[in-house]
């Protein structure tokens, strides 16, 4: 008899409960696109504190965590709400006031650090960076090519997040995660992190994954737990299911105080549980 892998499906609140105060989180997606935003909101509902966010291009997620006072630190390459929304205001205020510590990266140096962790090596050379003030700021070291090309290269130390959390288009019961369209940096995040959590639009039968295994970005054995949350990337997009909910983003940006109760109550996952 062939035993199947264990069932990894949990509720959104159970998924968030796996993350303890002070954890470092690599969050998938980019700006307002296919981010695990329902999980970020649930961490805030549960009052999580002292988190670190690792992401090449955070926006809504980091702004929300700063606004809730849940973040202590970030490693990021570019932070904005994007589109016509400009800077992420609560993030900006948190850095300017010293509420959070910023380790400023280029997007590719985050990727290099994640690659070092994923490859199991103590550092990863990264192209470019010549003349930038970022290496000195972060204390990165360079070395000359030991094979004699006389080219110097910057060496980025490993970035091994406690958790990688991605929003997938679909999952299997045992945790295979299917991503459609660009994977952004989700793949390398899931290879670098100690544990992988997945939020997904929908649950599909194993047969569907067997028919198109090349669409599976993360195999089930690498995944700790999964929550199925339709519209969980709201107010961002999840292609091809839905686009950015611009009125919702405008309403979020227009709010001037730190009280998130209205915004959290308007989220799809909150409306579903209120109706249940």
């Amino acid at each position: 008899m062939v035993l199947s892998a264990k069932d990894k499906i949990v509720s959104l609140s159970e998924l968030a409960a796996l993350i303890t105060d002070g954890s470092s989180l690599a969050l998938g997606g980019s700006f307002l696109h296919r981010g695990p935003f329902a999980l970020v909101r649930e961490l805030i509902r549960q009052g999580r504190r002292g988190l670190e966010l690792i992401k090449q291009s955070p926006g809504y997620d980091i702004d929300l965590l700063c606004r809730a006072g849940a973040l202590r630190r970030t490693r990021a390459g570019i932070v904005a709400m994007e589109g016509n929304f400009g800077l992420a205001r609560w993030y900006r205020q948190a850095v300017e006031s010293g509420q959070i510590e910023l380790e400023e990266h280029a997007c590719a140096t985050i990727t290099a650090g994640l690659r070092a962790a994923a490859f199991g090596i103590p550092f990863q050379p990264c192209g470019g960076l010549q003349g930038s003030a970022l290496p000195a700021l972060n204390g990165w070291k360079s070395c000359e090519d030991p094979y004699g090309s006389r080219r110097d290269v910057w060496l980025i130390p490993p970035i091994a997040p406690d958790f990688a959390i991605i929003h997938a288009n679909a999952v299997s019961r045992s945790g295979d995660a299917r991503v459609l369209g660009t994977a952004h940096w989700d793949r390398i995040m899931t290879r670098a992190a100690k544990k992988v959590l997945v939020v997904a639009e929908e649950l599909l039968p194993d047969e569907s994954f067997r028919e198109r295994p090349e669409l599976t970005l993360v195999p089930h054995f690498m995944v700790e737990a999964v929550a199925v949350v339709p519209r969980g990337a709201w107010p961002g997009s999840c292609w091809p299911h839905y686009e950015i909910d611009y009125p919702a983003v405008e309403a979020y940006v227009a709010e001037t105080d730190s009280d998130l109760s209205g915004h959290l109550a308007a989220a799809p996952e909150a409306r579903v549980s209120a109706n249940a």
Binding site: A106, A108, G181
Partner: protein, 245 residues
Amino acid sequence: MPEERWSGFSYIVTNLARFIRPNEVTFSGVNSNLPMMACLLAKDAYDFYFTYINVAGGVDPHPTKVPISSSDPMLAAGTQSIFSNEDFYDLCTRGGMDLCFLGAAQIDGEGQTNVSVIGDWHAPKVRLPGGGGGAVMLPTARRSCTWRTEHSPRVLVEQLDFVTASGGMHGLVTPIAVFVKRDGRLVLQSWHPEKTLDEVIARTGFPIDGKGATPTPPPTAREQAALAALDLAGAFEEAAHVTLD
């Protein structure tokens, strides 16, 4: 003729598009609506092929509408492959990126950029978004171009508050001027015909002399038609808030 006049918005988008060359790999990224429109304009207005790749993973995509976010998955609609983030960075660092559009808050005369901070990095007056790909792409892409919707000495500076990315821009477009790199310095190539050379020099914080510069040739009928088709309702022009002052 009034139809040949530039607006600040059409000036930036169209002159960014004029940096695109045949058969080259050209990239536009996050937070980059004006270069996104420049790439789409060039696909429509110019009689040559170039490879347009973008941060949404699209390779020569066929978007059915122009998205408000320049990283929107719409920019991968109709693509025949997904060329994702890790791929295009690696392409750039190994020398395969011909033209990169990269954002900037401040630009100096060598075409270096600050996208990090106004004031001291450790005690910021304004914390800016950060450079994203800049620090890695600017020194490794064959050419990079940037744009600003403001032309002033606080944006085009002698001394950056912080060097986020070095390596030097090949081109820079503002609402009133086009700069290009010559002997390692950004020099004025042309200026908005409704402005004077003296005004452009006065509003540029790094030294330029304007030698060899001419008024910018007006938009062609095809450039105008292509931009009009991309911004039918004028929403992008309105959101960009570009003035000549």
